[in-house]
Amino acid sequence: MTPSNTRSVLLGTLLSALWLMLSGHWDVRLLLLGLLSVAVTVWMARRMGIDDAEGLPVQQLPRLIAYLPWLARAVVASNIDVARRIVTPSLPIEPVTVRVHADQKTAVGRVVYANSITLTPGTITLEVEENSIEVHALTGEGARDLCTNEMGRRVTACEAH
């Protein structure tokens, strides 16, 4: 099979799983309609040209799931920190913008990194470039944490295959 056909089959499998999660009906009529819906969607995705390696990061997917627990803990920790700053009457913030190095090789890797940064409150991705990301941080402390590049290294580890 050509790579694009393989990806279409994969997309179809994932979308079928989505249909079953949404529908929850197992009679023949709705299963056939589900198959039809998935087929129509895969066909449209092919015509749109969105079922490429960016739209369907198959190789990275298992590692990305393994990365999520670490991300969740980071998100909770920074949530508590930012929440405490908001409820402190003096509002102790000192916003800075920093440029952090992004050594991810693929666009998907950079996007995962950028979204991880935005997802943790206290840091927001402003601009994604070829090998760096511009970040707005609520505190100098948050910016320094990011510069240790622990998150970046973990995301880069996801795309190795």
Partner: protein, 100 residues
């Protein structure tokens, strides 16, 4: 606890609305609208549990999640380019490699 959550969500929506009214920039208003739509999604879901028809309400909330995102992107595009159609390759930005 469910009732409390609903009341808190309504209060938060009022605060977001306050930000949308006060502005001062268009981006503050878009931000407020986006936060408002997130809270609307949560409100619809929680309301479904309160009235005991969560299966119906969660579908509506799912749709609202997707459409709210599209709405934010659309408004951002209008505020940035002045129209909806432009492909966006026109404005010069530090280059992300084109798609193909």
């Amino acid at each position: 606890m469910l009732t409390l959550t609903l009341l808190v969500l309504l209060g938060s929506m009022a605060l977001a609305l306050l930000r949308a009214v006060k502005g001062p920039t268009v981006y503050d208003r878009i931000l407020a609208a986006n936060a408002f739509s997130t809270k609307t999604v949560l409100l619809i879901t929680a309301l479904g549990f309160l009235v005991g028809e969560a299966e119906y309400y969660v579908d509506i909330a799912l749709m609202y999640t997707l459409v709210g995102f599209i709405a934010t992107v659309a408004v951002l595009k209008v505020s940035e380019f002045g129209n909806l159609g432009q492909s966006g390759a026109v404005r010069s930005t530090p280059a992300e490699r084109p798609n193909k």
